[in-house]
Symmetry: C2
Subunit: 535 residues, 2 copies
């Protein structure tokens, strides 16, 4: 049995069962239409083992919003739901709930605010906020997490690789080892985060990019087995693509066979008035081979053709290759910059599957619920204090210093206006003894990060093209401290709570734990009129 492409597994049932059972429980309790608010945030930047990112790049929002716009319970799906049984063989979902779900189970009631795609984002900061009827806001969770977690994961990796490649071209080659059809979303995220192009034809075409590629070993092998040799294979390829001739030179032996044969073909092309594009190295010591291939190509009168590197590349491998070239090229009488200048990087599985950190730990947590026109903040404690939620309806601000560099993100309550305050208090999310005071005059900007992106079942603005999302990324990265962008051991970017949020959190923790309230704080608490739990 297989999954039908375009089947029910990609629509509104692209979800976990418990979203449906919880929605029915809310429905039965009459709580399904209460306004609720959920925050999406992640707790840690991607951590690849020996090296953790100092920031993330947000992506996946448009894919998620498009899903939310179009996901509607259809007849096939209703039939599936009707067939599900309880342990005693009764219908798991009752007809009245299915009727409600068919009519209101789409997402026309929710309002979504989010950070735009391409922006630099940080742990614990709500980067998408869903507000609306409890059942709808619950039902949207799984797809939201799936789409935002994965694309943010890949966009972040792509940005790191782009930093490592220092402005050289980078092409995404990962579809063959991507995690199923998710590879298409991976390609999109890679193009947002840092890849210039992708080899993925379908996704590139849909996103408005020309797909890119070279050729595989099989082409050389096929023509070799047919008796033409590597040179014959290259000639055949050059004949078909005289102005796009990029040759893979490591099928037999890179320096003894591949590069000399490529040079012969390039000379033939040149004589016919064409400009060869380059060679690709896919195995062996890529730094060493780049230096020597460069030397041979330059000596033959091809100082500019590209050298494309591929084979298990990531940000660390790329920076090692560049470092080794800068250290070793001169040993062989070669200018390291001349070698490095002609490099292009083809990045595959390690980018699209985010090897070393295959999932972002993004979560979607209830922060408040409305009861009789009064929003009640919600908290969840945890044995690990870092996992205790920041409660209530919140907004997020980014603060920039006079150099226009981001100094930190401030999570505040919705009715606060840090942009108007003369002195800001930035509280450490956990530690009572760590806080920071900033005078507004020290800051060049206090920027709200979230904007309304979805309401009445529709996106509220046109989907920006990838090029615009990249401009957003570049602008944000330019305002991020170099230390935070460092590939290994980056500076920690500060995410703080406002004084009011910090106090709300403390008082809820105390109330929840039943510990004696510390008088001086509780009276300053706004809007906390919780009934005692019946416990």
């Amino acid at each position: 049995m297989t999954l039908r492409r375009h089947g029910v597994s990609e629509g509104i049932l692209f979800t976990d069962l418990y979203q449906l059972t919880m929605a029915q429980a809310y429905f039965r309790a009459g709580a399904h239409m209460k306004n609720a608010r959920f925050d999406y945030f992640f707790r840690k930047n991607p951590d690849y083992g020996m090296h953790q990112s100092g920031y993330s790049i947000f992506a996946g929002l448009e894919s998620f919003l498009e899903w939310a716009e179009t996901a509607r319970l259809n007849r096939t799906e209703v039939e599936f739901l009707k067939r599900l049984k309880t342990t005693t063989g009764r219908a798991l979902f009752t007809p009245d709930f299915i009727r409600w779900f068919s009519k209101h189970g789409a997402f026309d009631g929710v309002r979504i605010s989010a950070v735009p795609e391409g922006r630099v984002v940080h742990p614990n900061v709500p980067i998408a906020i869903v507000e609306g009827p409890l059942a709808q806001a619950q039902l949207i969770e799984t797809a939201l997490l799936n789409k935002l977690n994965y694309q943010t994961l890949v966009a972040t990796r792509a940005s790191r690789i782009r930093e490592a490649a220092q402005g050289r071209m980078m092409i995404e080659f990962g579809l063959r080892r991507a995690q199923g059809t998710g590879g298409n979303e991976g390609t999109r995220a890679a193009l947002i985060g840092g890849a210039d192009f992708s080899s993925n034809v379908g996704a590139s075409c849909e996103l408005g990019f020309p797909p890119k590629g070279t050729h595989a070993h099989s082409l050389v092998q096929a023509f070799m087995a047919l008796g033409y040799g590597e040179l014959g294979a290259f000639r055949m390829y050059a004949d078909v693509y005289p102005d796009d001739c990029l040759l893979l030179v490591d099928t037999i032996n890179t320096l003894e066979s591949g590069v000399p044969n490529a040079i012969k073909v390039f000379e033939e092309l040149k004589r016919k008035g064409h400009r060869p594009i380059g060679i690709r190295l896919d195995s062996g010591d890529l730094a060493y081979l780049s230096i020597h291939a460069h030397k041979m190509l330059s000596a033959a009168g091809f100082p500019d053709v590209s050298i494309v590197l591929s084979n298990q590349l990531d940000e660390i491998v790329i920076s090692q290759i560049l470092l080794r070239i800068s250290e070793e090229a001169s040993v062989f009488g070669v200018d390291p910059d001349a070698v490095a200048r002609r490099l292009t990087f083809g990045v595959g599985a390690r980018l699209l599957t985010s090897e070393g950190c295959s999932a972002l730990d993004g979560v979607y947590k209830l922060s408040a619920i409305e009861q009789e026109k009064d929003w009640r903040p919600s908290i969840k404690l945890s044995e690990s204090p870092a996992k205790t939620l920041n409660p209530g309806r919140k907004k997020v601000w980014r603060l920039y210093d006079r150099r226009q560099k981001a100094v930190g993100d401030l999570i505040a309550l919705e009715d606060e206006h840090p942009e108007n305050e003369t002195r800001l208090v930035m509280r450490h999310p956990l530690r009572v003894d760590v806080f920071r005071r900033l005078n507004r005059s020290e800051l060049s900007e206090v920027e709200p990060l979230l904007t309304r992106v979805y309401g009445n079942g529709k996106r509220l603005r046109q989907t920006p093209p990838i090029a615009e999302i990249r401009r957003i990324r570049d602008y944000d990265l330019a305002r991020l401290d170099l230390g935070v962008k460092r590939l290994i051991n980056p500076h920690i970017y500060h995410v703080s709570l406002s004084e009011a949020l910090w106090e709300l959190k403390q008082s809820l923790i105390e109330a929840e734990k039943g510990s004696p309230a510390k008088g001086p704080k509780v009276h300053r608490l706004r809007k906390l009129k919780r009934k005692k739990s019946k416990k």
Copy 2:
């Protein structure tokens, strides 16, 4: 810009650009209809860092074959292809090639043999073989790799987790952190490899499984914020699902609040004649909490309800939990088996994204091409000897000893019949000095592994249901040595070459490298009539 669901990115253009440009090069050279043969194999079992698997479970075949059956170039796709340009602005694909591609670019010419899904498979063994017109066999590569690599990766992880869980129920919960829509294929592979059920509603429904689930913290948080407390939330849930009541008990404090409240609700259910299902623990020290939750539940008269564990589980964490329970339960006056018996494992991101090894290194390599009715073996050398291909048209056999245990896989040339030979020579794939002789009488079975699964554009048999694929898996796992299944440091399973294949490989290596042929071997070579390359 987003990817349109059900757009061109999932059809025949779910591929890398170079497959299309190579197909056009073959077309231009008149080589596109030559019969070619490609092998799919992987080089290493999944390696999760500190622990590498000793085997893999094959999955993804039916998804791939379904794609091959239905992928056809449509008008939208033709328009995309027509718009692609060379660097000089001419059409990248010429009208005659696009005509050919529209007419013959589907996969009606290829024949595919493969190992059935669910079978135990090993490195370097061809587990899917595609034979047919060179251009078609080339065009099929990316989708084949994508679908087989990912599902095999996840089925293998699921099988290991199932081994670690020692027969306890295991449910896949990973969609929220899966890699995009690939999560659906991940669910399928998890169900093949070892998960009993999944929380993924759409995929479960399509695959004929009831989806499973509990509830989230948000349900408790919502009812708490509305003033009902954890106990009120549990009661609300139990009221809606009296016969399916599984309560998440760690929102406030597991042992002080969650479990006592769950017990109250279970008692109420019991009085009304219902049977509660269990509790779920999602944070903290799961071994310790399991022991104490078990003690409390048993003391309250619920010795059988399940304890579902979740939170970053994988095979190592699960075996540690079971080990710790077996060591520590008696300290608290509890029978460790009684605790372990009631456990169920919910496994999420670490299963669906194969955390620690996010991609299988499966490759698709040309092994032979037909010229004038004569099949010419193809080889690709590599600076890493382990990567040098096994050339020629091959078949694969699995040998079983008298205990019915698999002793090794034998890769032989297609015209060999090891099942009829009285003495088998098993050659180490690389080392000349390592080989093994087996008398047929020592073996209970010599089993061919590959069967024809696709031809004339169709699957040649009905897609087996997941339940049948699981029976295949169980039968194979039972015939695999315990040592090979070990989670850490497994025995290495032997994959060998037949004498004839070994000799073909050596002679091709010598011919390719231009080294002096070692007389005695070359004359025994069959069917090798390669022209000298023109080099």
